[in-house]
């Protein structure tokens, strides 16, 4: 073994061809990384040029559904294929993973020709927590707080989505009041998520003041959640079979006051942005996704509706009490970044309408199923009766146990799109398999092709416009 010079920082000094013993940082991975870096086109290679392509010819094998964007991209690739670049002037640029504009640990690798993005690949593996695997060793109720950490910008929606999926699997129906309260919570989460999106999106585009305003109202929503659930960020308020506890009168009054105050301010922000010359120039015609392409790429949520596809789970398969409410689904047909802005801003207004209706029509009654085999008993029972305490232990230890072989999929419209859980049961208190269908994952997948042909300066706007959360795209 060759002696390592003492002045060499060993873990970082190794380069291909140096002494093998210098590799102390994940030896095999280091070798793989250097092998990858040796080729300039490594992460951007067209499948045909690589040797690892599974199908051999490397093409998608006759795409049978050709959208207008496909044709545009095919022409684009024709123009910018490797043969027209004899000087190899294209450049690979790595954006992220740790940059505020990449919204979490997202790495965007772009191949540039001048300022134009020729090809874009995303790397979403940085935050891989194996959350689906984790769910298999938790009981259904134990896993609920983990859903807070998925799309951590709207934890309430995730809690409700999980509980609804488990309730569908077990055939439990939460009481009426719980459903109305859950609806309020989900819509508050939608406002909170869209507020963060609006602030960071405008900040990505170069203005800071809107960020400060939206965060003021996010703070107020945090205070609301603090009053509702006892936690500001990761609320964990939903339970299988209902809610942990009822909203207090203070909370209901606070929500009502928030609605009035927020509605006025929303109108003010729209006055600033809706006809703002800079904002419109920055967003109009940027990242256009056609109707057909939005469907083919599997976009979801506001990104899908901005392209004119009327798909909203609240409308498509009404859950909770959405079929009893009167509200609109904002739509745009332009499919560009500005359209996605308008859809989200109008959704916030609709959420306010929904919350108001819920507050007006809120029925009284229990907020959790009165069945100790389906839901936690109330704390009064737990503290003052032996049966209550035993049931509490049993809900914690094994919880609900759906029949063996039961499988179901339940989706809700989270702020970012369709959030669905596919659950398979083996008859025990833990799920056999949990497959999450998360909106950021679907949208990020579309981002790869959306970026092709765009300008590098628009990258952050495009990333912002589909509103990804990396905790949500991780499985």
């Amino acid at each position: 073994m060759a002696a390592i010079p003492s002045n060499v920082p060993v873990a970082h000094a190794a380069a291909p061809g140096d002494d093998e013993n210098l590799f102390t940082f994940w030896p095999r991975h280091n070798a793989a990384i250097y092998k990858a870096l040796a080729d300039k086109y490594t992460h951007i290679e067209t499948p045909a040029s690589g040797d690892g392509a599974a199908s051999g010819d490397g093409s998608m094998g006759e795409p049978e559904v050709v959208t207008p964007d496909d044709k545009r991209r095919a022409e684009w690739r024709e123009e910018h294929s490797a043969t027209t670049d004899p000087l190899e002037s294209s450049m690979i640029l790595n954006l992220g993973p740790q940059h505020p504009a990449t919204h979490g640990a997202l790495r965007v690798v772009v191949q540039l020709d001048g300022e134009t993005i020729e090809r874009c690949l995303l790397d979403v593996g940085y935050l891989h927590r194996g959350i689906e695997k984790l769910a298999e060793v938790k009981t259904y109720q134990e896993f609920m707080p983990y859903t807070d950490r998925m799309d951590y910008m709207s934890p309430y929606s995730n809690n409700v989505a999980w509980c609804l999926a488990v309730e569908k699997l077990c055939g439990i129906e939460a009481p009426e009041r719980a459903q109305w309260l859950r609806t309020i919570g989900c819509e508050l989460a939608r406002i909170s998520s869209h507020l963060l999106w609006a602030g960071t999106m405008v900040m990505d585009a170069g203005a800071l003041s809107v960020f400060l305003w939206t965060f003021k109202y996010r703070e107020e929503i945090y205070s609301l959640f603090d009053e509702i659930a006892g936690a500001r960020f990761t609320v964990s308020h939903s339970r299988i079979g209902g809610l942990a506890f009822d909203f207090s009168d203070t909370a209901l009054a606070m929500i009502r006051a928030f609605c009035d105050d927020f509605e006025r301010n929303l109108a003010d922000w729209r006055k600033l942005l809706d006809r703002n010359r800079i904002w419109i120039d920055r967003n109009m015609g940027v990242g256009v996704v056609s109707y057909e392409d939005a469907i083919a790429e599997g976009y979801t949520g506001p990104s899908l509706r901005a392209s004119g596809v009327e798909y909203d789970v609240r409308l498509f398969e009404p859950y909770l009490v959405y079929d009893k409410l009167d509200f609109d689904i904002p739509m745009r047909t332009e499919g560009d970044s500005l359209a996605r802005y308008f859809v989200r801003v109008e959704e916030m207004q609709q959420s306010i309408n929904i919350i108001r209706q819920c507050l007006d029509r809120l029925p009284s009654g229990p907020v959790r199923v009165d069945n100790a085999k389906a839901a936690y008993p109330s704390k009064d029972e737990v503290y003052y009766s032996m049966e209550g305490m035993i049931h509490d232990f049993m809900m914690t230890d094994t919880g609900v146990a759906p029949p063996k072989g039961a499988e179901c999929y339940h989706a809700v419209e989270s702020p970012k799109g369709e959030l669905g859980f596919f659950l398979a049961s083996d008859g025990t208190g833990s799920p056999w398999r949990v497959k999450m269908n998360t909106p950021s994952y679907s949208n990020l997948q579309g981002l790869e092709s959306m970026m092709e042909g765009a300008m590098v300066g628009d990258t952050v706007v495009l990333i912002g416009s589909i509103d990804p959360v990396i905790g949500d795209s991780d499985k």
Binding site: V10, A11, T24, F25, W26, R28, H29, A32, A54, S55, G58, S59, M60, G61, P63, E64, V65, G125, H128, G130, K133, L134, E136, L164, E167, K168, L169, G171, I172, E173, I295, A296, E297, G298, T300, E310, Y311, F316, E317, T398, A401, P403, K404, G405, A406, E407, Y409, E418, G420, F422, G427, T428, R433, K435, N437, Y441, S442, G446, D474, K475
Partner: protein, 240 residues
């Protein structure tokens, strides 16, 4: 029945819930709690009840007519049609999954691939299942297709030429479950490093990871790698 304590323990596992009567070890004169210790698995009629009486069942997922139409058209390629919680699941033969998908996409209006995933059935025949959640946006229908493959030959035709949205889903299925998709143009790993040798979503992959498969970096520049961050849990006790 059981005479010795050993026999009692041997039969204990087969006893389910309260319907099996009071279980008292004849060797012991202790009082037995009458609460339901374990959830009752496979309770008679429970599955049947939930199939029809589920409060969350939606009309958009109950599609027996469509399943019949598929059967009439594709014959033996369509296997069992199951129903739970009002959701129709159609099992499709692996060889014809692309044809069925093409027909659903081009002719029956299922234009949106909402989700795609895998299930590991572990000890059963045809170990892996790949499911496709399809949406008909115009008719407001949601259909689930399923394909079963064996562990020895875990290859499924790619549907990426029909729904481009299948791209990452198929890559994820390859990465996490180790199912390859024939015809996918770029079947790279999605989450795990390129040179990772295992497929973590499989049931036999331990939750704590396989020791040495993904070591932690050294704490100091020339320090050793941590080959197994959970050594104690993997049965490796430190020497005294």
């Amino acid at each position: 029945m059981a005479e010795t304590p050993n026999d009692f323990h041997a039969t204990k596992n087969t006893i389910g819930g309260p319907d099996d009567g009071l279980q008292v070890d004849p060797g012991q004169e202790t009082q037995t709690l009458k609460f339901y210790f374990t959830p009752r698995v496979g309770l008679a009629g429970e599955v049947e009840r939930l199939k029809s009486e589920n409060p969350h069942a939606k009309s958009s997922t109950y599609l027996p007519d469509l399943a019949d139409a598929l059967k009439a058209r594709f014959g033996d390629a369509i296997g069992e049609v199951t129903l739970y919680a009002g959701e129709t699941t159609v099992y499709v033969d692996r060889a014809s999954i692309r044809e069925v998908c093409r027909a659903l996409r081009m002719e029956m209006g299922f234009d949106y691939l909402s989700d795609m995933g895998t299930i590991d059935r572990f000890t059963e025949e045809d170990r892996f299942e790949v499911f496709y959640n399809l949406l008909n946006l115009k008719a407001r229908q949601r259909l689930r297709l399923k394909v079963r493959v064996d562990e020895e030959d875990a290859v499924v035709p790619s549907v990426m030429s029909i729904w481009r949205a299948a791209d990452w889903h198929e890559r994820e299925a390859w990465d996490m479950m180790g199912i390859t998709f024939d015809g996918h143009p770029d079947l790279r790993r999605l989450y795990m490093p390129e040179d990772f040798e295992y497929h973590p979503a499989r049931k036999e992959f331990p939750t704590l990871g396989i020791p040495g498969s993904l070591p932690l970096p050294p704490n100091e520049p020339d320090g050793p790698l941590t080959m197994d961050p959970f050594a104690r849990a993997h049965g490796d006790m430190p020497k005294q």
